[in-house]
Symmetry: C2
């Protein structure tokens, strides 16, 4: 999938929502424990309920790995379910991987060949040879961490060099020289709305993946205003505010309701920007 195809999906769905499948075994509704694989049963219901309002899904590997190989089976089943039933979806494995070259080769193989995700999130600290192996797959994407949504983003990402440039901008500019806007997106947390404006100016043609709206407190309208470009260029992720909207048997309907609310705000933002 290239960036124009993602934009086409955004226009047809009138949404740039990505639903984060941060599915914790301890937080899913009790009645699902009668199922063989409760986490997969939960994801399946969430996906069916929210697919009309979203263009992307983002399972975060941490929540699956907490259950070990069984959790990885839930992850495999989830991605396979999306691929078969909703082939139009963009699937991001939120794994934040990154290792020396020959090791990153194996991560790329895990996420692109074995799991068949469209994209994987990658941490920049280890530099080019840690990122490069992920760029060798046609139509697959690296989503590079630049400015994350958490409080710890202040510890290192805002450190400045002698010329006053913060680390996240240095990472952004260097990484943009490694890959085209059809190979790489950047993570920019919704909790830093001014920085999103700055990042949009520095990489006008690249997609941004923006977490931190919802449970983490980022504001969707501001992010949309600061982050959209003429080709869409924006995916906003919400995880907990959607998937845990209810802990009862109505969890899927409640998730659909939350996703629909976000889609409607996104439709307004797209109209306002003249993109639909």
């Amino acid at each position: 999938m290239n960036s124009s195809q993602i934009f086409e999906k955004i226009r047809s769905k009138k949404s740039f929502l990505c639903v984060g499948l941060d599915s914790e075994i301890t937080r899913i509704p009790k009645h699902l424990f009668a199922e063989d694989d409760p986490v997969f049963a939960f994801n399946k219901a969430i996906i069916d309920a929210t697919a009309a309002f979203t263009v992307a899904y983002k399972p975060n590997t941490a929540f699956y790995e907490a259950n070990g190989s069984k959790g990885w089976r839930s992850l495999e089943s989830t991605i396979s379910y999306i691929r078969i039933n909703y082939p139009e979806m963009f699937i991001i494995a939120d794994a934040k991987r990154g290792d020396i070259g020959n090791t990153s080769d194996n991560y790329a193989s895990a996420f692109f060949k074995h799991l068949d995700a469209d994209a994987v999130t990658v941490a920049p600290y280890m530099g080019l040879d840690s990122v490069h192996p992920f760029l060798g797959y046609p139509d697959k994407w690296v989503v590079l961490l630049v400015l994350t949504s958490n409080s710890g983003s202040a510890d290192f990402q805002h450190l400045t060099d002698a010329s006053g440039s913060p680390l996240f901008e240095i990472v952004l500019k260097k990484a943009a020289s490694w890959a085209t806007p059809d190979q790489m997106m950047f993570v920019a947390g919704a909790t830093h709305p001014d920085a999103i404006l700055r990042i949009r100016a520095l990489v006008p043609d690249y997609f941004l993946l923006v977490p931190g709206v919802g449970a983490q407190g980022g504001d969707l309208e501001t992010v949309a205003k600061n982050g959209l470009n003429s080709q869409g260029g924006l995916l906003i992720n919400a995880s907990r505010s959607i998937i845990y909207a209810s802990s009862g048997t109505d969890f899927d309907a409640a998730a659909a309701n939350e996703a629909k609310k976000m889609q409607q705000m996104m439709e307004k933002a797209l109209l306002h920007k003249g993109l639909i």
Copy 2:
């Protein structure tokens, strides 16, 4: 396991070798494919052959994840095998994880509760709340990436702030304020021998985990000279040079031979330093 206990093991084994279990399905000897789980069979033989010469094992998750849930089963079997048969070993899950707080909670659970590793490698880019959840487990360790052995370490880790301090030193100093020398070690690549001297001076009491000796070209003697402290303070990892020493049916004997050579060099370094 605390740092004194690791030092005791180093003294009794006369070794500070860590064997990296970077076990790629495409590189293990052909005759093992008759086994149910060839990767586990390979690891088991490597562990039995090298245990006399090593104090630690470090499976890197990338090589297991390339086989998905089946690979995770090989990883679970491998760690469980070491725990049962060689309870004295320090087990490092080389996972290079790191995510926002509630997500890192789940990674900590995956590696410390589910897999029962002693330590996990963590990437620093996302700051304190991404590291903190790993520090809440008694006797478990964070091994934080500071200065990695690969060529890409030059891209960001050597960037300097206005005062001329490189990023890896800033990360090192800040992270040392987050955790004691019984909770945290630092990764410092053998390919940067002068930096190891500098890192040793900045954090005299912390253990360093040093990859990059062997296939990557770092020199064991220089690393030992620059990295050992009065409490040992050093684990040197070798992966490919040991586990792929032969691709034939003698792969385990060849691995033992390589591990023994390194152990003998380490014994000399420990004697020279007056530590045994």
